[in-house]
Symmetry: C2
Subunit: 415 residues, 2 copies
């Protein structure tokens, strides 16, 4: 009978220096003794990738992404070899693999490649030899050109989940510098609790709201292949089999579902209002098609009710770094859209209540609005999805709003 | 008609930082405009490989050489990508290759692999597309295992010469931090001259004497495949086609052959004397077989004339780092060799006069001994080859001996 399989992924801070790499090896050894065949996926030592990106930027501002990938993919090769050595030093049989050696086959869209296939033969053969396999994360090899690709920042999470899917791992443990996903930011609400179990859908909302715990694509991939993913700290003595972190899994596997799982917020939002456009059919498409064409991701949208029946305002939010692009796109189509002016406001925060329980329970939005109203917090824009209610408020109220909602939805740790 | 081909190799100090990599790109561009298809071979940025070796040593003193190679081969990948970017920034069409992508096929003797084959298809195809190809030096891929190998310290010289042989390059230019091979060390003799042309055989004597200009294996390879190799500085404005350096080539191609080309010296020598061994047939083999079995490279050997007809002394030299190994090997066979004791002397220097012209000319050794005798310099050991006379002297006389011989053989620059 073949052994159960486990993927253990360690991010840049977890392999920041030789001492931490030794600790990584100790954790891997413990899990190997727990009876797992193990694939270890490692990032570059923290700071290394940024240094390499800096070199590329300085040499060629409009760099060739294939050469960018050739350069920035090297940091993970170093960590993979060093981790294998640290394991050998503990008496474990281990070897490192580059993505090309597995191979991790990707598209040839350099610097943002997508994984297409991971044949499991190499890994299976390595397991059969009793070896712990250490794999360089973040990278792949283009099927079309044979060149090295990278998966975008945070791509090692995606490497790990894809490998877990390929080998049918029982779980993919993502070791990082936080010990799990919290009901809200503990720096704002000191009574925030670690969430033991969270659904893929909820985690996706967290990730896209800037919780930065897991790369969004890795969660999508885990959901598609039903890979349980645990987020846990590499800085404690625990290993994944102790279940110390937050397990991201299917909704059905979470016994006691909360109505609201957590309160997230995103400060990097800009509100853009297109003032006095004609209140006619097709005006929304006149505004948003140019934005889509320019590659701007529009988030929340509201169209004001027309006061005079002739003109109205279109308001929407974009992430701060796309603000200039959005304004450029709109100004370029001023003749068609016929707006009076564009107003912008960077001083806003999006606060969201997230929970799959909302699907079967009304009144979450109402409770949210009432809680904010009681604190005198004005809501600029509202957006809802099946498992989320988001409001845009003035940035100065961020902490007050987060704490009030965290408490109102009963998320605080018990005293 | 296909264009003529050139290999340009740049060592660690030549690519030490982004500014130097930009200068490398400028030189390559000039040679490309001179009408060459160009393969650029690069080392790691200076210091990088030492850092990586340090990591490996600290993690596992008795490291797995395959993992060592996986780690230390990454520095060249970075430089190759950055050099391609710097070339693109000058408007040149360029791309980088890892050794695995060419492929540079080697034995699987990790950390000291030997190149077995370099199929030229990939490089030819790249040239046909008009591309300057930049190749990571020092590394290869094992035919047997598919794992990354390295060629030993200084191995990028060997990479460059092997690639030049594979593509039939007109010349292999080795850019480094010296501007050629000198008649002797200019720090000792200020009137030392740069040698414009030197034979492979003479260069091999220089390299093995610690002149450190070219890796010995690269010279052997160049000689076997008749690849002209030029040693030149990357820090001047010259390029190889200006012929500013020292050209290493076949003896027949050097018009005016000097009797003696240069005076080399090696300070890292230890003299070992095995005192009072029986003066019987077979005693030399009793002494030197154990040394060979222990992997000790013995250089100069002298057996004293026996004074009493019963016992004698065996004296030989080894490099300083093999001294302990040599003594251990001898002590381990004391029962068989039956020596009284072992004397050692680190305070010695080997000084050599080198020149293919000696083959057809007697009297070089005599002139050398007389020159040293006139300065009162005692000779401990003498060794000769077809193109070299070496003497072992006390280290304190090194500079005096080198200057005297340099002058006696007419090597000094004309005033």
């Amino acid at each position: 009978m073949s052994r159960k399989k486990l993927v253990m992924k360690f991010g840049g801070t977890s392999v920041a220096n030789l001492e931490r790499i030794r600790r990584v090896a100790e954790k891997v050894k413990i899990e190997h003794e727990n009876g797992y065949d193990i694939a270890v996926v490692v990032s570059a030592m923290s700071g290394v990738t940024n240094q390499l990106v800096g070199y590329v930027d300085q040499l060629h501002p409009l760099y060739d992404p294939a050469e960018y990938d050739a350069v920035v993919s090297t940091g993970e090769l170093v960590t993979a070899g060093l981790t294998a050595l640290a394991l050998q030093n503990l008496g474990c049989d281990a070897r490192s693999f580059s993505a090309a050696q597995i191979p991790i086959i990707t598209s040839d869209y350099h610097s943002k490649a997508r994984i297409k296939d991971i044949p499991s033969d190499t890994l299976e053969a390595s397991f059969k030899e009793g070896k712990i396999t250490v794999i360089a994360g973040f990278q792949g090899i283009s099927e079309a050109t044979g060149r090295i690709t990278t998966l975008g920042r945070g791509g090692s999470d995606t490497s790990a989940v894809a490998i877990a899917a390929a080998i049918g791992a029982e779980r993919c443990d993502i070791y990082t510098d936080v010990d799990g996903v919290y009901t809200t930011d503990p720096r704002i609400a000191s009574d925030a609790r670690k969430i033991p179990n969270i659904s893929y859908e909820e985690m996706l909302e967290y990730a896209s709201l800037g919780a930065k715990v897991l790369q969004t694509r890795s969660v999508e991939l885990a959901m598609a292949h039903n890979v349980p993913v645990q987020v846990l700290s590499s800085l404690t003595d625990h290993v994944g089999s102790d279940h110390p972190g937050t397990l991201v899994c299917r909704e059905e596997e979470i016994m006691e579902q909360q109505l609201v799982t957590g309160i997230a917020y995103a400060k990097d939002e800009t509100k853009i209002s297109v003032i006095n456009v004609a209140d006619t059919p097709g005006i929304a498409s006149d505004v948003f098609v140019p934005l889509a064409d320019a590659g701007v991701n529009v988030d929340m949208i509201v169209q004001n009710v027309s006061a005079n029946g002739r003109t109205t305002h279109m308001t929407f939010t974009v992430s701060g770094r796309e603000k200039a692009l959005a304004i450029q796109a709109l100004e370029g189509h001023k003749d068609k859209i016929q707006f009076e002016r564009i107003d912008t406001d960077d001083n806003v925060t999006k606060v969201s209540a997230i929970g799959v329980g909302m699907r079967s329970h009304a009144g979450i939005a109402a409770k949210m609005f009432r809680t904010l109203a009681e604190r005198g917090i004005n809501i600029h824009v509202i957006a809802t999805s099946e498992i989320k209610v988001s409001v845009l408020i003035s940035a100065e109220y961020t902490e007050l709003a987060v704490r009030a909602l965290h408490s109102a939805f009963g998320l605080a740790a018990e005293k």
